[in-house]
Symmetry: C2
């Protein structure tokens, strides 16, 4: 009885000491797990080695922990990817300065997204995986707001925003696919030259357009072409009255 008390007493003191040191550690230790740290490590793996390299085992190894530990902070791999994507998109949307002219603002948003997805191609794939999510909502909201400012009639705003967002998502997805295809090693222009050569070799009778456009493919700039598409849609939107 007395012995038990001692033990309990001691164990409480030990617990308190442990808690105290833990509290210090939580602040001091740089390697304490948290959702933010996990998301950060995931982003590093994704950027450096692509989507296929992101496994819970690789993540655990990088974080020097067990693979199961990650599940204490993150519900699933989907959850992790969503959080990582939201991080990237939210940063873009915050960084974009809302220009006075709505047309310029839309171009800025679009280019911001393009550059972010160019830097993190896996985001392009992820935006297609879980729609109606925070990231997409923010894009939709920001684009839509500028369309209102542009004076697009209420009835047409939804369709116009949808067109712009779907176009952006389409380019994003293709960018992700290209990045997956020629992982960081291959030179972009060399890759384009290869595809252009293949296009040029196609039978002009069967593929007249692709055959003809092969030269432009080699010389074209993805970013400029992306912006040309945005301008095309904006020109179309301007005709809606």
């Amino acid at each position: 009885m007395f012995h038990e008390y001692i033990l309990e007493h001691r164990s409480n003191r030990v617990k308190m000491m442990l808690m105290a040191t833990r509290a210090q550690r939580t602040e001091r230790r740089a390697d304490a797990l948290s959702k933010e740290r996990i998301v950060g490590a995931a982003m590093e793996i994704l950027d450096a080695h692509g989507e296929s390299a992101l496994t819970f085992r690789a993540l655990a190894a990088r974080l020097a922990t067990g693979s199961g530990a990650i599940y204490w902070h993150v519900a699933s791999k989907n959850d992790l990817l969503a959080a990582t994507t939201n991080d990237v998109i939210a940063r873009v949307m915050t960084d974009v300065v809302s220009s006075a002219e709505p047309r310029e603002a839309i171009r800025a948003i679009a280019l911001g997204l393009f550059d972010a997805i160019d830097a993190h191609p896996w985001v392009g794939a992820q935006l297609h995986r879980e729609p109606w999510q925070s990231a997409m909502l923010q894009i939709f909201e920001t684009v839509g707001g500028q369309l209102q400012a542009l004076g697009v009639p209420d009835r047409a705003q939804f369709d116009c925003a949808s067109a712009l967002v779907n176009y952006i998502l389409g380019v994003a997805g293709q960018n992700a696919a290209n990045a997956r295809l020629h992982a960081h090693d291959t030179d972009r222009s060399a890759f384009l030259a290869t595809v252009a050569a293949r296009w040029a070799q196609l039978d002009p009778a069967e593929y007249p357009f692709v055959h003809e456009v092969a030269t432009q493919l080699r010389e074209h700039d993805d970013r400029e072409q992306f912006l040309a598409g945005i301008d095309l849609i904006l020109a179309g939107i301007t005709t809606v009255r």
Copy 2:
């Protein structure tokens, strides 16, 4: 020696008999493996149960064979998915009647693709996986040809085709994502109502546009909105001179 000759002779005869019966069987037996039959079975699984249900084990079970047998006809899962996607797209491109008016033709191509991807949502995801492939090439060629017929200046044709195709791919990807989210059981209108309700509940101060557009979301028709986007881009293209 003599014995050997007999054996060889007999075995040749047996071989010929086997070849004869095999030849008959190849024509008669409905369950002989071939790339076409594998692609067909894959398409059935994809349509019925979605992308996640397509495994080599499930495919082998449906074809009543071993999982390794499939690799005799198909190089990999990627190869299989590409072949399946090409099948669907090629059918659409053949079915689309080239209308006299190029603008109408583009709308027909776009709607054909939309309907095909609506019927086979997994195609939308696959188009984003392996670009520069047969399926994409056909789409690009057909769209580009109509732009030439429309009288779009040479310099602008590439950008215009890219804009249309990327928009179509964007919608395709979102369709695939939605299908993945609410597998065949859920009602589409019920799903839209749920999302619309969520949008309506968002803080109007933070999400003024999305909040306002929630009603239109519930009532909108995906196909009509898709076509509205195509018309928007076509209107923009018309301004390019």
